[in-house]
Amino acid sequence: MNGFDLNRAYSVARKEVMHILRDPFTLVLALGLPVMLVTFFGYAIDFEVRDIKLAVSDLDQGPAARRLKEIFTSSGYFIPVEAGSGTVGMLDSGKADAALFIEHGFSRTVMGGGPVTAQFIMDGSDNSKAAAVSGYLAGIQRSAAFKLGGAATPEGLAVETRFLYNAELNSQWFTIPGLAAIIIGLLAILLTALTVAREWENGSMELLLSTPVRPIEIIVGKLAPYALLVLGGVFFVYLSSRFVFGVPFAGSRPLFLAFCLLYVVSALSQGLFISVATRQQQVAMQFAIIIGLLPSLLLSGFIFPVESMPPFFNYFTMILPPRWFMEAVRGIFLKGAGLRELALPFLALLALSAALLALALKKFKTDMEP
């Protein structure tokens, strides 16, 4: 009598699978959301900056100036726009994103082998664009010094920047694996919140509890099918990362799975808590979308790096499972990090999952009155 009865939990799980199979909303959400997110972030959203409109004010008109312009445009990041008299005005009006000023006598000085300067002005109002461009500039400067100065590369210009793990700074490599966190976070929390709230709402929870079935068996039975469904979504993300977007997978798959399971537990617990607290599908859905989506999207490092958040948020993210999961996913995918490197995220996620699960179970058990 005491303890956990697998048969009863299985009965609950089997019933839940029937519900899922007959409910188009759940199926569409569970299968459609991963596809939609991957497409959205894989193709539509690109953190790389290209096609920067560059206005050139060339007062030199010499061969070296022409070479310099070529170097900018052939980099692929810049497209030249015709610059009239007011080059700076073009920046103001948004007709250009950046401007290049080449002074009189630029070519002559280059021929003479002397030090030269060209001025580059960038519209800094979009700071993510500006940050990306300043990165590109280092490469262009190096290339210019080499091409214009011939073999005699001035030592001082050799700015060495290499990006490890993602040498091309390919933003898809960075975002697509991270989608696993969004999908688990949203799907697991939302579906769990809905399925348990539904039993409260139509009064069947009371009937379940009037049988010898134990609360823990109801929970395990109801949540297991959703855990599988959500892991299916993660598998889809993994496949599309690897084979559609060519993201390398440098780490260990069992470790990745272990992190996914931990994160799924934390998400299911949150969903359970929401459904016990709200007991209505409508309200549960609103809470689940907010709690499922916002932290994983905004505070996990998925888009905004955790390190550059204000100190309060930087510390605040530490109690959010998505932050640790995001760190682990990127570490495993791109760096091939193992458990030793990911010990902190692992322990943090373990502790958070255990705490959330305990909280949800306690709420469920003490809150069974209608």
Binding site: M1, D5, N7, R8, Y10, S11, V12, R14, K15, M18, H19, R22, D23, N202, G203, S204, E206, L207, L208, L209, S210, T211, P212, V213, M368, E369
Partner: protein, 308 residues
């Protein structure tokens, strides 16, 4: 066959914080009895039933269900009772077979035994549609009968039905009460709540609850005799109410109660002599005939008495 009462409740109270939902209630129910709980919404019927099903633990007092107490938190009780709640019947998006399989799974019934019970109960309720029928497509009365089958699939000793016929067509209600009687013939004890007076008449005994307290307990006959020990007459004014006459009748010696009943009036007296004395010399426009008090009259009188 076990002996002893099906339910033995002594000084049972159930509290939610400061609110006392069930207040010091004592009664006992014999095996094979149909025991009705009546009372307004919020009177404590559902809370009492939920406790006796093992869903809530008594705050004080004691309750034995089929001889079992709450020392194990209600686990033992849950095994020997069947419960049909007010709101939920069956999962609409599952088939009949899936619903019953689920009920059997929760009770850990052997598949062969469950199938046998299912056949027996289908015969009992006269259900002959395929197992693959979606519950959503069934009429309300049939759903209710299937919900009963699902609640008693595990052959419980005591069956609790919380307003089982609310929102069901009258013909289906009669069918359902036939089923309840059949269950008691099979030795089951049925505890039922209802708002319908015609259903209350069919209970062996009735417990009337108000504000958490048990204010009357007995068979319908006993309750009627207790509330109205003497005869009752129905007065028909044929549409023209004689206010003067009603005023004078109110002062008649031996009158227990005079109250409107639909278009007519009911007058209850202490004894036959008082009735004869009061109703001699009726105006020609008023006719009178002897009537049996209805349960509704009884409950109104008891509840008013309890509130006074």
């Amino acid at each position: 066959m076990k002996t002893g009462p099906a339910l033995e409740v002594k000084n049972l109270s159930i509290k939610f914080g400061d609110f006392t939902a069930v207040d010091d209630v004592s009664f006992s129910v014999a095996r094979g009895e149909i025991f009705g709980f009546l009372g307004a919404n919020g009177a404590g019927k559902t809370t009492a039933i939920r406790t006796l099903c093992g869903l809530l633990v008594p705050s004080s007092g004691s309750a034995l269900v089929g001889g079992l107490d709450f020392s194990d938190g209600g686990k033992g009780i849950k095994k020997i009772v069947g419960y049909m709640s007010q709101k939920f019947t069956l999962y609409n998006d599952l088939t009949v077979g899936e619903n019953l399989d689920f009920a059997a799974g929760l009770r850990k019934m052997e598949p062969r035994y469950a199938a046998e019970r299912r056949r027996e109960l289908f015969e009992l309720i006269g259900f002959d549609r395929p197992l693959s029928t979606m519950v959503a497509s069934l009429p309300g009365g049939v759903k209710q009968e299937l919900a009963l089958a699902s609640a008693i699939l595990h052959d419980p000793e005591v069956v609790f039905l919380d307003e089982p016929t609310s929102g069901v067509a009258p013909a289906s209600r009669a069918r359902f009460w036939n089923l309840i009687r059949k269950l008691t013939e099979m030795g089951k004890t049925v505890i039922v709540t209802t708002h319908y007076m015609d259903e209350a008449e069919q209970c062996g005994r009735i417990a009337l609850m108000s504000a958490g307290r048990l204010i009357a307990l007995g068979s319908p006959e006993e309750l009627k005799r207790g509330a109205f020990p003497g005869p009752m007459a129905e007065l028909d004014f044929k549409g023209t109410e004689d206010v003067e006459f009603i005023r004078s009748l109110e002062k008649a010696p031996g009158l227990l109660e005079l109250f409107p009943h639909g278009m007519r009036w009911h007058a209850a007296f202490r004894d036959q002599a008082a009735l004869s004395a009061a109703l001699t010399g009726l105006p020609p426009s008023v006719s009178s005939r002897p009537v049996e008090p209805s349960l509704e009259d009884v409950f109104i009188r008891i509840i008013e008495g309890a509130e006074r």
